[in-house]
Structures are given as structure tokens and as C-alpha cells.
């Protein structure tokens, strides 16, 4: 007879997988409802735009560290964005390569006497340059202080009321900024708005523009396409209608400048500064009883390059997990706070249990079940039932995200893309999922033991990489 702890473990695994499915299917249903309603509004895109010419000014903040290979292309692409009133502030965060030289050469940057506001404390500024060719382009050269410090330096130099934070190598679709800013026009209570991040590997990008959407030939990138669909569709579209979105991606998010300044700017002490800031905004507004909205605009798209090597992917996933836990821990007083509403009573606990601790439970499940079957403590039927449950839940979450993608967006136009994504749903469960569960557990361990996490290098092919905390499940 098997010991009692085994029965407890079995129920724990069961509760985890059933809970996981229930939470994400519920979120998917909320997202589906929201996307269905919005698809009707999207159908109106062919009608004249009611907000044309009325968009508020936006400062695009681009933190750049050792980006000499891509920075000129990125800035060129940003300069051609379809938006009536914007400026670009590139912050050279003490790059060791020729990032600043490239900017000076390509955009005729000239030293500029600026009464630079030190509203947020940042590392020393070495110089400020303004383009003689593009009056809306400003470069702030400063000592290295990390991504958050660079973004804060850009916020200090921003002149517009809205700041859009993007990665130095992100590729925005031409109309993305117009779309992501829409919530600010329609609802003055909006303090932040995020867009969807999609994987650009395999896509044809030329002069900073997405020319043709495609899916990379490698399965590592293909599975990440699916992961991003799951993370953004099931997670973010689902949480947004409840005003409980816990992360606006650092790769593409717009914030009200005064709100960021009031909140003290991006934290330089966390590796997941985007999630930390989003949670801080929730805490600031909810606990002080102020009305606010954090919006998500799924059709505002930013393209980014995903890692195609296991080493880079491992670094990214451990970093994301650590960032997630840091943010949840920093804002632990939101949990079940009487004033925290859906954020404190639903989103934070779900995030902790499913995304934070979930990898440990899942890993434990794989290890324990394997050991038990090896020791002949459980039957093959039990082992099979566990695998069926684990794979079934993974497949279902992917299928629901794919369904939502098809209903609302249909970004991947060719039937071949659909076939690849359907196949990726299956392939993901054959090793990839188990690896990421392991990496995320390592990230959790690193957070618990306070080990330093370095960003690591991301080899570029000309598109971009994702910063901050990942898309989630």
C-alpha cells in the first residue's frame, strides 16, 4: 500500500492542473468575450477615424546599451511612425560600443544646451544632443545605470504628457502608436496602456518595417510564437477588462508621464521593472482610492526577436521568473488588501500560485511520478493518467489561445502558418515545456537565495529581443 503522502501529492498535482485549466480557460472566455465585442469595433476600422488628428503628444523613450548594429535602423523606423505629434528620446546608457557615434553620424546630432530636468534621480548625464535634421530626435548620453535608469533619464527629458517605452531593437507596426494611445483619448483615467508583443523570427523586416509576416523554420522560435499568443491572449486580454493587468511589457508600453514621475520612475533594483512598475501603479491608485485604468490594446503590435539558442532562452526564462517573484514580493501588501479589488484578491494570488509557484509543482509532478514508476510504487495507468492530465492541460491552453487569435486577429495569414502552430502545440510538450519548467524553478530558487541575475547577451539577427517579465503562460 502506498503511503499517505503519495495520495496528498496526487491531489496536489490534480488541484494544480485543474486549477491551472480553470483559471486560464476562464481568462480565455473573458478575453474571447472582450475580443468578440472589440472585433465589432475593429470592423469599423474601415469607417472614418473619429480621433484623426486629435492624438496627444507622445515621447518615445528608447534605452540603448551596445546597440550600434541596430540603433540607426530602429530610430529610422520610429521616425517614420504614423503619428501626428511625437518626439524620440534615445538614451545611450554608457554603451561600450559605438552606439553614440552611430547616432551622431546617421542623424546629424549636435550638442544641445538643455535645461535637463532631474525629476527622477539618474546616473550622471554626459551630454545631450539634438538632431539638426529631425527636430523631434533627442539623444541623452549618460553613465551606465541599467535599463530602468536609462528609461528614467528619457522620462526626465520627455516633453510630452505620454511616454512610450520601447526596446532599442523593437519593430513597431506603423499604426501601433495610434492604436495603443487610443485608451488615453477615450478615457482620461487611463494611466498606462500596453500592446501585444509578437515574435519576429522568420518575418521579413526591411528598413525597420514588417514587410511579410511568417513563422521561423526552427521549432524553438515556433513554440515561442505559441507561448506569446497564450501569454498575451489568455493572460492580458483576459485581465484587462477587470482592470487587473499586472504587466505592461517593457518592450512596448505607454504611460502618463506625471503618473510615472509621481510613482518615482522605474525601479533600478528589480530585473522585472515593467511588471514592478505596473504593480506599483495598481498599488498607488487602489490603496489611495483613486480611479484609474490600465488598458491593453491587443491590436497594437510590436515585433521582437525571440532567442533561438537554449542558453539565451534559459537566461531569459530564469530572469523572467525572478522578475515576477521580485515584483510580487515587493507589492505583497496588495494581496487580499481590502482596497485592492480584483488586483489583490484575484490577479496577484493567481499570478503567485500559477505563474510563481506553478513550475515547482509541475516539476515536482514530473520528478515524483518518474521516481514512483521507476520504483514500481504506482501503476502505468496512474502514470499515464498524470501525463494525460499534464499534456491535456497544456494543449487546451494553447488551443484556446489559437482560437482567440483566429477569432480576433488572424495575424498569421497563410494556412501553412496555422498548420505549424497546431503542430507546435504538440511539439511543445515533448521536452520544451519540461525544460522551461526547470529554468523557471531555477529562477525561483535564485530569487529565494538572492543570487545576482545578469541580463546576458542576446545575439541579434536584426529584429529585437524582449525585456522584462515574459508573456506568461
Amino acid at each position: 500500500m502506498a503511503p499517505a503522502w503519495l495520495a496528498w501529492l496526487t491531489w496536489l498535482f490534480l488541484a494544480y492542473f485543474v486549477g491551472l485549466n480553470l483559471v486560464y480557460l476562464t481568462l480565455n472566455l473573458v478575453a474571447m468575450r472582450s475580443a468578440w465585442r472589440d472585433s465589432s469595433v475593429r470592423a469599423l476600422a474601415a469607417m472614418p477615424a473619429y480621433t484623426a488628428g486629435l492624438e496627444p503628444g507622445v515621447t518615445i523613450c528608447i534605452p540603448a546599451y551596445n546597440e550600434e548594429a541596430t540603433i540607426a535602423e530602429s530610430v529610422r523606423s520610429m521616425l517614420q511612425i504614423d503619428y501626428p505629434d511625437f518626439e524620440i528620446v534615445v538614451v545611450n546608457d554608457g554603451s561600450k560600443d559605438g552606439t553614440l557615434d552611430v547616432l551622431i553620424r546617421e542623424f546629424a546630432m549636435q550638442p544641445f544646451q538643455m535645461a535637463y530636468r532631474r525629476t527622477l534621480a539618474v546616473k550622471p548625464i554626459r551630454g545631450i544632443y539634438r538632431s539638426a535634421r529631425h527636430p523631434a530626435l533627442l539623444v541623452v548620453d549618460k553613465d551606465n545605470g541599467g535599463r530602468s535608469d536609462a528609461v528614467n533619464a528619457a522620462i526626465n527629458g520627455a516633453r510630452h504628457g505620454l511616454v512610450c517605452v520601447v526596446d532599442a531593437d523593437s519593430v513597431l507596426e506603423r499604426d501601433s502608436l495610434k492604436r495603443v494611445v487610443r485608451p488615453f483619448i477615450e478615457d482620461p483615467l487611463t494611466v498606462a496602456s500596453g500592446g501585444t508583443v509578437r515574435i519576429s523570427n522568420g518575418c521579413q523586416i526591411s528598413h525597420g518595417y514588417m514587410q511579410r509576416v511568417d513563422i521561423a523554420p526552427g521549432w524553438l522560435a515556433r513554440i515561442q510564437v505559441l507561448e506569446y499568443l497564450r501569454g498575451f491572449h489568455n493572460g492580458r486580454i483576459g485581465w484587462a477588462p477587470m482592470n487587473a493587468l499586472l504587466i505592461i511589457s517593457g518592450a512596448f508600453g505607454v504611460f502618463r508621464r506625471t503618473t510615472l514621475v509621481d510613482a518615482g520612475g522605474f525601479s533600478t533594483r528589480t530585473i522585472g521593472e515593467d511588471m514592478e512598475m505596473t504593480m506599483r501603479l495598481h498599488r498607488f491608485h487602489r490603496l489611495s482610492g483613486r480611479s484609474y485604468r490600465i488598458a491593453f490594446v491587443p491590436e497594437a503590435v510590436c515585433w521582437t526577436e525571440a532567442p533561438e539558442s537554449l542558453t539565451v532562452l534559459r537566461n531569459q526564462r530564469t530572469r523572467w521568473q525572478r522578475g515576477l517573484m521580485e515584483s510580487l514580493w515587493t507589492h505583497r501588501n496588495l494581496f487580499f488588501h481590502p482596497k485592492a479589488g480584483t488586483v489583490g484578491w484575484l490577479a496577484c494570488p493567481v499570478m503567485l500560485l500559477i505563474e510563481g509557484l506553478g513550475p515547482v509543482v509541475e516539476l515536482l509532478g514530473y520528478v515524483v511520478m518518474t521516481v514512483l514508476i521507476a520504483l514500481d510504487l504506482i501503476s502505468w495507468a496512474s502514470f499515464g493518467a498524470f501525463l494525460l492530465l499534464a499534456f491535456g492541460s497544456g494543449l487546451l491552453l494553447s488551443a484556446s489561445a489559437l482560437l482567440l487569435e483566429e477569432v480576433a486577429f488572424r495575424t498569421y495569414p497563410r494556412p501553412r502558418h496555422l498548420a505549424v502552430l497546431l503542430a507546435a502545440m504538440v511539439v511543445e510538450n515533448l521536452g520544451y515545456r519540461q525544460l522551461t519548467v526547470w529554468w523557471r524553478t531555477v529562477g525561483l530558487f535564485k530569487w529565494l537565495t538572492g543570487q545576482k541575475q545578469h541580463w546576458g547577451d542576446m545575439p541579434r539577427r536584426g529584429a529585437s529581443g524582449v525585456d522584462g517579465v515574459g508573456p506568461g503562460r
Binding site: 469599423l44 535645461a115 539638426a132 493518467a385 491535456g392 488551443a399 489559437l402 496555422l418
Partner: protein, 355 residues
Amino acid sequence: MFDTISDPALRLAAGVGATAIALTFAMAAAVIAMRMHALRLARRNAATLATWRPLLARAAAGEVVDVPHLPAAQCLPLLLLWNQLQESLRGESHDRLNVLGERLGLYTLARRLEDSRSLAARVLGHATLGHFAIASDWQRLDKGMQELNTPASLAAARALLRIDAQAAAPHVLERYLAHSDWPAPRVGTLLRESPHEAIAATFVQRLIGGSLYERLRLLPLLRFAEVPNIDSVLDRLVRTSREPQVLSIALRQLHGPAALADVRKLAAHQDPLVRSAAAQALGRIGAGDDHDVLLSMMSDSNWWVRYRAAQALLGMPRMGADDVVQLRRTVGDRYARDMLDQVMAERGLAAQGRG
């Protein structure tokens, strides 16, 4: 064995797993079916556009066209195309497309869409009735404007303004003030499309006599409403208002010198939003005497007040290059000097760009 002590757990695990996989298959099948449907729909819409776009263009240009049979499946894409064209047309061309639309049954179709549960259909219906602008649709559209759905109610409001702007303006403003769902910029575009005399009287009445909420809702629309004697309205607001939000919005739009004395007083207001708006206003309407006021504002604790004051000062009519150099030399405050340097550099770059 494990399964002898926890059979219920085993059964539940297998059941949930099997259900999840069955649901996955069902969803995958739905995705494939939807993709095939979408491809068919795209082909049909492309065929509709290829047939009807040149026909509508010729009809709008005044040619007599033979109208082919319109299959039911092409009605909605055609209605959308017709609306897109109507948006860019005025006068006779617009009227000709109305005639053709009526022949094709688009007016009847639009009235049917008014009762649809689909938001897109209702918006399309309202927009179409707005183009036909038939007075008998007033009640129907007025009802549509009262619904608490932003795109649909805005489309109905636009249609009402097209039918009779004079009569619709008070209703539209009433609806705007009664519910907070209409964003000011969208209402602004509606007002801009309408004859201003239809809007102005109602607008001013509510702006002056309304509550703080009403004034704050209406002020951003002022630039769209094309109110005659706008400066006298703004003067009055600057003179009589106490609320910083109202004051700053009014100051930003002020162009007449009548309120100059009040603007000077507001340059020392405790709210930096009002002070920076006052600095901007002084730059537009100020006189030589305001040089010193702006100079002292350049030492303000707020960056924006300093910036606006420096811009205003350097933009004043009698401020020549020598005066600027002299000013730079005499300014003692470091913050004021830094700001002066920035604004001078900006002007230098702008001049370089123009050159």
C-alpha cells in the same frame, strides 16, 4: 499500488486529461473551419469591391450606369464601400450616390441594420442614414444616440447633425454632458463638421452658466465649436473662474488682450499649471511691461513655468538678437539661465532647419 488507494484521483486525472484533449481537438477543428470561412469571405468581398467600386465611382461622376444584380451576400460589403465613398464626397456627387444607394436598396438595408444586435451593423446603419439625411429618421436616430454604447451613439449623433445641425446641437451637447462616455476629441470632430452658428449659442450658454463639471467637459470643445467672440467668453472665464483646471484651459486658448490685467495676476497663481498657461498667454498678448513678469517667472520652481516663460520672452515682438545676448548676460539665476540656453538652442536649431 498507488491506484488502489486513490482511485478517485486517478479517475479524475484521466477524466480531466481526456476532456482537455477532446476540447483541444474541438477547438483545433473550429480554428480550421473559421480559417476556411474567412478565406471564402475574403474572396467574396474582393469580388464585390472589384465589381462595385468602378460602378459607384462612375455614378458619383454623373454617368448613367447599369446596375447589375446584387446578391444578398454582397449587400453589406457594398454598403460599407458606399459609406467609404460618401465620406469623401460632397455636393452633387454625394447626392448622386444617395440616389443610386436608394435604387440598390441600401436605405432600406440601413434601416434594418438599426435594429441589429451587432454594434458594427448599428454603426453602419446610423452612418448610412446620416448620409441620406432624411428628416423622418430623426426619432430613430435620436433613440440611437441615447443608447449607452459609445461608437453607436456617436454615429447616431453625427447622423442627426447631418440631418439638421441647428436642431440637433442642443441634443448632442445634452447627451455629451449627461454621460461621460463620449470622449471630448470625438465630439470635437462632430462639431467641426457642423455649421458653427448651429452650435455656438447653446455652447456658450452651457459654458458660462454650467457647473464646474460642465465647464470642464465643454472647454476642450471650445476650439471646435467656432464660437464668435471667443475671446470675450474666455475673458469672462479667466476673470470669474477660481478652478485651476478651468483657468489653465481658458488661458491656453486666450488670444485677445482685454484680459491682460487678469493674466498678469494669474502669473503668480499657486498652481503651476495656471502659471505656465499664464506665461504662454503673456507671450501671445503681453506688452513690453510684461518683460519683467516673464523674467521673474523664469526662476519659478516648476520646469514648465520656466520653459514657457523663456519661450514667451524670446518670442516677444521687440526681442532682437542683441537683446537676447544682453538678457543672457544679466540673468543671475542658474535655472533661468539654463532655460534661456535651452530655448535659444531650440530656436537656433529651428532656424537651421528652415535654412
